[in-house]
């Protein structure tokens, strides 16, 4: 993981979060399920099954909200961010929200278009801690834990497909901006 910098001077993340607070998410994760037939997905679903992890719909705690650039927040935010980190184009940009007591357990982001994407070597992935530091807000990427990060901190991932997890055992919702 590589720290890129802090963008809180060019994007008002509090305003972005406030605007999401009143919206219905574009969808609720996870978007894939066991047996969907996407290459690599069984690595994740098998592990969740072994661990006994269940989605909120199944009576468990696995659940996160997805807010998409151009739908839930202005595309100009994504463009400004892309310019700041030095990428000309991006495929995907979203803000995830993990509500209190909820998990995005250990997984990698298996994409519908995984076969094609897995051939590409030019993809760079970043995340940004857009909320203020709060107890219980955790992001883990591989063996690194991101906790109490200042608002606006940006990191570049080793790979689009790095294993990661998000958790919230605090008292307020946790937001994370993602782009690749």
């Amino acid at each position: 993981m590589k720290r890129i910098g802090n963008c809180s001077h060019i994007i008002d993340w509090d305003e972005v979060i406030n605007s999401l607070d009143t919206q219905v998410p574009a969808y609720i994760g996870p978007s894939h399920k066991e047996g969907d037939g996407i290459p690599g997905l069984d690595q994740v679903t098998d592990m969740w099954k072994r661990a006994g992890l269940k989605t909120a719909n199944q009576g468990g705690t696995v659940e996160w909200d997805m807010f998409l650039a151009g739908i839930n927040f202005d595309m100009s935010i994504a463009n400004k961010f892309a310019e700041f980190v030095g990428i000309e184009k991006f495929n995907s940009c979203w803000i995830s929200r993990i509500n209190i007591g909820r998990f995005s357990p250990w997984h990698w982001d298996v994409h519908d278009n995984e076969v094609e994407l897995s051939c590409r070597k030019d993809i760079r992935r970043f995340h940004c801690h857009i909320g203020k530091p709060a107890h219980g807000h955790v992001l883990i990427v591989e063996d690194k834990c991101f906790y109490n990060q200042p608002q606006g901190e940006i990191y570049e991932w080793p790979s689009r497909t790095s294993w990661h997890a998000g958790m919230n055992c605090g008292l307020t919702p946790k937001y994370l901006f993602n782009i690749w």
Binding site: F103, W106, G136, I140, D143, C145, N168, C169, L171
Partner: protein, 190 residues
């Protein structure tokens, strides 16, 4: 949090975990059972009950589904050998007052709280200040964390010991990984 060293070659933590896993009589803690088991409930100690209510009230106010919160505790001499506690006590040079191994299953959080202790006032009067330690007793496990206000324990070496800033430190735990999470906790005095 102060890192004190590693106990990996002094205590067979795998064996301790295995022993706890083999038990089916660990203390199951829920919002209800922690208060039911407390002496505060038995003697109607309003101050102590107030501490419990404050912690649970914070969770309720934040919107937690209280029925989803649970964890297990295992005690030396009851669930795993007393020797483990005795050896640890020598390592940290402190006398034990309350010692246990906590177990948090995948997909479970134990939210922001401090460990309300029934005998806190008595012990403070008897022993002066109390000290608290945590030991990471399992092998490094992905997506399993214990959190404090300023720090996070993640992917630590098996056997790493940390001393808390204060025995009353707020903390929480979350397990988004594949394996149950285990920590050894030691509250004592010097």
């Amino acid at each position: 949090m102060l890192y004190l060293g590693n106990t990996g070659d002094m205590i067979d933590w795998d064996e301790v975990i295995k022993t706890c896993q083999s038990r089916n009589d660990g203390d199951r803690n829920t919002v209800n059972t922690v208060v039911d088991r407390s002496e505060a409930d038995a003697v109607g100690d309003q101050k102590l009950l107030g501490y419990y209510r404050q912690v649970i009230g914070t969770w309720e106010q934040a919107g937690y589904n209280l029925s989803e919160i649970y964890w297990y505790d295992y005690y030396p001499g009851t669930h795993f050998p007393q020797d483990v506690c005795n050896i640890f006590s020598k390592i940290v040079e402190a006398k034990p007052l309350r010692v246990f191994v906590s177990e948090v299953f995948p997909g479970v959080v134990v939210p922001y709280h401090w460990d309300v202790e029934d005998k806190e006032e008595q012990w403070l009067q008897q022993y002066g200040n109390l000290v608290r330690y945590v030991c990471c007793i399992d092998k490094p496990r992905f997506a399993s964390v214990m959190l404090f206000d300023k720090e996070c324990l993640y992917y630590n070496k098996q056997g790493d010991i940390f001393q808390w800033d204060s025995y009353r430190d707020y903390h929480s735990a979350a397990n988004g990984g594949e394996h149950p999470q285990y920590y050894f906790h030691f509250l004592g005095y010097k």
